[in-house]
């Protein structure tokens, strides 16, 4: 008989874990790579695009493996859409680098290799942080950004699923 003055600290009973759950792939796989910067166009109409590749097993994304090309202003568009339509605090984008766009610079400005690499890293961090957010995953603009070939700026903003209130 246990002494009532000493607390019972035995663990609560729990179900044994299924081995496929224990050793199978986790249900939270989500990886986005931002890579292969390409500068397109000539002279003052040049711009840089990046390949955005997403691999995931989250059921909310239609495609489990998708590749699209996006430029910096597309990332800006996504940030603005989410700031307007959702309650989430959107992570920061790497800088706009307006100074680099002024004439009479000694270097390539925004097409400088080191700058593009810096920006690529920042964009990759941005999109990974964002895509993992349960509320961001609910926004149509995120899905369009990641998985549609091109962004339709005249799209109808909206939610992808119905989350319970207060989430």
């Amino acid at each position: 008989m246990s002494d009532p003055t000493v607390a019972d600290t035995r663990r609560l009973n729990s179900k044994p874990q299924d081995l496929t759950d224990a050793y199978g792939p986790p249900s939270n796989f989500l990886e986005i790579d931002v890579y292969d910067p390409q500068t397109i166009g000539v002279g003052r109409n040049r711009f840089t695009t990046y390949e955005v590749r997403m691999r995931t097993n989250l059921p909310i994304f239609k495609l489990k493996d998708s590749v699209v090309r996006r430029r910096y202003s597309d990332f800006e568009w996504l940030k603005n859409e989410l700031e307007r339509d959702s309650k989430i605090v959107v992570p920061p984008l790497p800088g706009k680098a307006l100074k680099r766009q002024l004439p009479f610079r000694g270097d390539e400005g925004i097409f400088e290799e080191s700058f593009i690499e810096e920006r690529r890293v920042g964009l990759e961090q941005f999109i990974n942080r964002l895509a993992g957010h349960p509320l961001a995953q609910n926004e149509r603009c995120l899905h369009m950004f990641l998985q549609d070939e091109s962004i339709d700026r005249n799209y109808i903003p909206g939610k992808v699923r119905n989350l319970p209130k207060g989430t």
Binding site: L12, N28, P164
Partner: protein, 342 residues
């Protein structure tokens, strides 16, 4: 030549003055309890319980022997009061007892007065909080024409409870649709201050990248009523229960010893002035520092200290009751001797 500062009292007072000292009759045997003062320091005070008689002596020592002390009466009070920090002027007295020790007259020499407050009601526990304070004290006063002489002695009151008859466990399934489903369970809903919280977190669905889980104890002090309600939250403890990423089907145990934390019993609507409640806050943090949490109230109560006999002593008593033989008596005597050694 170094001039020392003279104590002001003896320089300016031309009449007689006195020192008051309050002493409880059972000061030698009565336990003391530690209690925090408003500025955070800890001090020890005599511990009293509801219904106990408060008896003792008031020693009045004349400062200038030979001179008389004229007075308008000597009395002692037992006071229980609540003080809200934002309303310092108003003390809400919920217990106020007074005993006259001497009628107006004069003291020619130092004197001791006996007092006794029988079966004093002490309905609430002493509490020093962030915005409110509840205290009990004895105050002896010598009334005089110009200025009274008084002395206060604070005491601490603890409210005791016994094991609650009903003490259901807390079990709930919570989460974010399609992202994270967990079932958490705590073995009880009412814990005493030296209890252990035994529980578990069971993961039903993990589509987030969780890297850390902790359980926090949050104390919420509520003061004021109606539109002027003010909640002060204080995280008393943060206890990590998981480091790393869980998957579906995993069960994470919780074993949290409460004795290590400074807590009070749950206090609900004390004299309609304040409440102190405790919550367990389960917090999960993902790879991107996003926090997911679920708060659940628990009731804390104070268990009375019982004299714990050693196991061998208890066994010896049990066997004596059963056998009633001399060998059992011997065992009992041995156990008692051992205990006295310890």
């Amino acid at each position: 030549l170094h001039l020392h500062t003279l104590p002001v009292m003896s320089f300016f007072s031309f009449g007689q003055s006195a020192e008051i000292d309050i002493v409880l009759n059972d000061a030698e045997t009565r336990k003391k309890a530690e209690h925090k003062t408003e500025d955070g320091k800890k001090d020890k005070y005599f511990l009293l319980y509801d219904g106990e008689t408060v008896s003792g002596k008031v020693n009045v020592t004349l400062k200038n022997p030979g001179k008389r002390l004229e007075h308008q009466g000597i009395k002692i009070e037992f006071i229980g009061q609540i003080e809200l920090y934002y309303d310092r002027g108003n003390h809400h007295e919920f217990v106020s007892l007074v005993k006259d020790l001497a009628r107006p007259g004069e003291l020619t020499q130092s004197q001791t007065f006996d007092f006794e407050f029988i079966h004093v009601e002490k309905p609430y526990e002493s509490y020093t909080g962030q915005n409110v304070k509840l205290r009990y004290f004895l105050r002896a006063t010598i009334s005089r024409r110009l200025n009274d002489i008084s002395k206060e002695m604070d005491i601490v009151v603890h409210t005791l409870s016994t094991y609650p008859e009903l003490n259901s466990s807390i079990k709930m399934e919570v989460g974010i649709e399609d992202c994270l489903h967990i079932e958490f369970e705590y073995n009880k809903s009412k814990y005493h201050l030296k209890d252990v919280i035994v529980g578990k977190i069971y993961f039903l669905l993990v589509r987030l990248k969780i890297r850390h889980m902790e359980i926090d104890i949050v104390k919420r002090e509520t003061t004021g009523t109606g539109p002027n309600v003010y909640h002060e939250n204080d995280t008393i403890a943060k206890y990590e229960i998981m480091d790393g990423a869980p998957v579906r089907g995993e069960s994470i145990p919780i074993r949290l010893f409460l004795a290590g934390y400074e807590m009070t019993p749950t206090m609900k609507d004390i004299n309609k002035k304040y409440s102190v409640r405790y919550y367990l806050n389960l917090v999960l943090i993902d790879e991107e520092e996003r926090r997911y949490f679920k708060q659940q109230e628990i009731t804390l109560w104070r268990k009375g200290d019982i004299v714990r006999k050693s196991m061998s002593h208890q066994a010896a008593i049990a066997s004596q009751r059963f056998e009633g033989s001399s060998s059992a008596e011997k065992a009992l005597a041995q156990a008692q001797a051992k205990e006295q050694e310890q």
